[in-house]
Structure formats: C-alpha cells, structure tokens
Symmetry: C2
C-alpha cells in the first residue's frame, strides 16, 4: 500500500515507510502497489489518476464534521483523532485548525515561510535576503536581514500562539521542525497526514 498527499506544489508519497516528493510538473514513478491518496489540487489529481487509474481517493471515506465552508481534505485528515488542541500544517501555506472536545472550531491560513520570503523580494530588490531563522526574539532587529526574518517568524508564531492559548500545538509539514523551536507546548508529527490516512484505511477494511 502506497499513500500520496497531493498539495498545492507537490505529490507527497509514502512508500515503504519512506517519504518521496515530486513537484507537480515532474514525471511520476512506476508503482505497482495500490495507491491511496488525498488531494487539494484538481489538476494534480487528474495527473495522478491518469498515471495510476486504480488509485483510491480516500476523501470519500473521511468522516469529519465542521461548520467551516471550504476546508481542504488535508486539513480534515490532519485534524482526525485530536480531541483538544491546535493542528498546524506548515507548507506553502500554513493552515491552523482548532479542535475542542473532538469538534472542529474553525481555523485560518497563513502564507508559508518560503512564500513570505518571496513576497519581500517582490516588494523591493532591497528586501531580497536569505533568511536568518535563528532569531533571538528578545532583541529588536538591527538590520534588514534580521528585520525580515524576525517579521516572518512573528507573523506566523504569534497568531498560532494566541489561538492555542497554552493548549497543545501539533505541527506537521515541511516547516514543522523550524516552527517547533518558537512555539510553546508544540510537538512535531512529521508523518501525521500519512498516519491518519492509514487510520482511515484500517477503519475501512473494504478499501484495499
């Protein structure tokens, strides 16, 4: 059984307990096992299904109740199984969702770290810096590189900490370990989406 999480910018496979990422334009590998996937990207879904016609969309098996309109399937899968706390999926966008007594309370979407860096470069070539992501938050920045790095981290960390309000924060996605250093009461679960996809498959023995 192979798992695949299709996002805005990558096919993210889980093959034999190992992760493999492919950008959307890249050729997909030859795979002989059953593929179960979730996707927030219709065009990429079509590409996957054209390559692997028998791939199974797990979205149809996800039971997740929420008042939120337009919640991506990746966010729903990430939230499965958490009773109380905040789930942060830090990729090209950073989704933040709040669970209380097993019920989804709503959430929000911050731009990802790399995208924010690119935004500065688009504002002015004078703001095009590599990031210094080891920031000492006790000091007010004294140069442009630190000013940008500090701002990116604060713009992400403070809204998450405010909503978490001392509750557990579960971090997943490519920038999880980076954010972990700055967010109190946070734990990293790099493979959260794949673990929860396995849970869905186990609970629906008819799938494969």
């Amino acid at each position: 059984m192979i798992l695949c999480d299709i996002g805005n910018s990558t096919f993210h496979f889980y093959i034999n307990e190992k992760e493999r990422k492919f950008f959307l334009h890249e050729e997909l590998p030859s795979l002989n096992e059953t593929i179960c996937f979730i996707s927030v990207n219709d065009k990429a879904t079509a590409k996957l299904l054209s390559r692997y016609p028998n791939a199974i969309n797990l979205e149809h098996y996800v039971k997740f109740e929420t008042q939120y309109v337009g919640m991506g399937i990746d966010r729903k899968v990430a939230c499965l199984g958490l009773r109380d706390g905040v789930i942060v999926d830090a990729g090209s966008a950073i989704t933040v969702d709040v669970m209380k007594e097993g019920t989804h309370q709503g959430g929000f979407i911050l731009p990802g770290i790399r995208k924010l860096k690119e935004t500065y470069a688009q504002i002015s070539p004078k703001l095009d810096f590599d990031l210094a992501l080891k920031q000492n938050f006790d000091k007010i920045p004294q140069n442009t590189k630190d000013a940008i790095s500090y701002s990116i981290l604060k713009a992400i960390v403070l809204p998450i900490q405010e909503i978490a309000h001392n509750q557990t924060v579960v971090l997943t996605g490519g920038d999880a370990s980076l954010l972990h250093e700055y967010i109190q009461n946070s734990t990293c679960k790099n493979e959260l989406i794949f673990e929860n996809m396995k849970g869905i498959i186990d609970a629906n023995s008819c799938i494969a």
Copy 2:
C-alpha cells in the same frame, strides 16, 4: 515649496497641502516650484531628477542616529520628533520602528496588506479572495475568505502590539486608518512624513 516622498511603488507628492500619487512608470507633471524630496528608490530618484534637475534631496539634512544598518530614509524621517513609542508606516511594506527616550531601538518590516493578499493567490487559485477586512477577532474563521483576512490582519497586528506593549503607536501610510481599528493606543498621522519633511526644511533655512 513642493514635497515628494519616493517609495517602492509611487512618487507621493504634497502640493498646496494636497497629496498626489503617481506610479513609477507614469509621466510626472509640470511643476514650477522648488521640490524637496526623500527616496528609497534609486531608479525613481534618477527619474525625478531628470524631470526636475533642481529638486533637493533632504536626506543630506536628516540627523538621525541609530545602530540599525540599512534603515530607509523614509523610516528615519517618520521617526523624527517622537520621543517614546512605535512608528508604523503601512504601505507596500509595513515598517515598524521603536523609539525610547528619543533613541531608535531597532525595528522590523512586515509585508503590506495588498502584497499579502497577492501572496495567497500565488500559493493557490483557491486562495484568491477579496479581503473581508472588518473582522471579528473573537470568532475563529469559518470559511476561506475570513480565514485569509483574519490571518493577514493578525500577522500584522500581533507583532506590532507585542512590540508596542501599551505604548503609543503612530500609524502612517496608505493602510494606516485600516490598521487603526485593530491596534490599541494607536493614532493616525496620514501626513507624518510630509510634516517631518517640513520640519527639516524649517530647521535648515538655507535649503530654499
């Protein structure tokens, strides 16, 4: 006497107590009075000086001590005259500077509201929304449009409020009045840069 503040995206004139903005590619008007300017944009400075060869760069008259390396002249001018508090210039970038007992303590640079909106659209067409900038911060967002608007405002407001820590926040720039609604102890001074430019001219009677 005409004043001009040249930013990343506009020539911002002050003519007969009225503001007039021109985008960088636009033709500049015919002006017969003396023009005093500041600029963070070398290419636009050259364009201004080629149109008005006698325009006076006020940067040479600004006395502003700071440890910060690479501080734009617009930020220095905005900070002039404030003894204690935080100065926020909310344009295509949002600069945030801290003054204490008349000394600059450092600062940081957030992306502007419009630029952040564009960043979402670049991440995914599913995140391309007009903003709903009247947000009720007591409610966790329940749809994508609110999720994006909430995130943009929180990403800007929380870092400013944290650094201000109950001190006065002086807001200027195109999005000053919008941020004013969300930032405690804030006042809007839309013409702060021009007022401080006038102060520099008055203090250097030799200029014009």
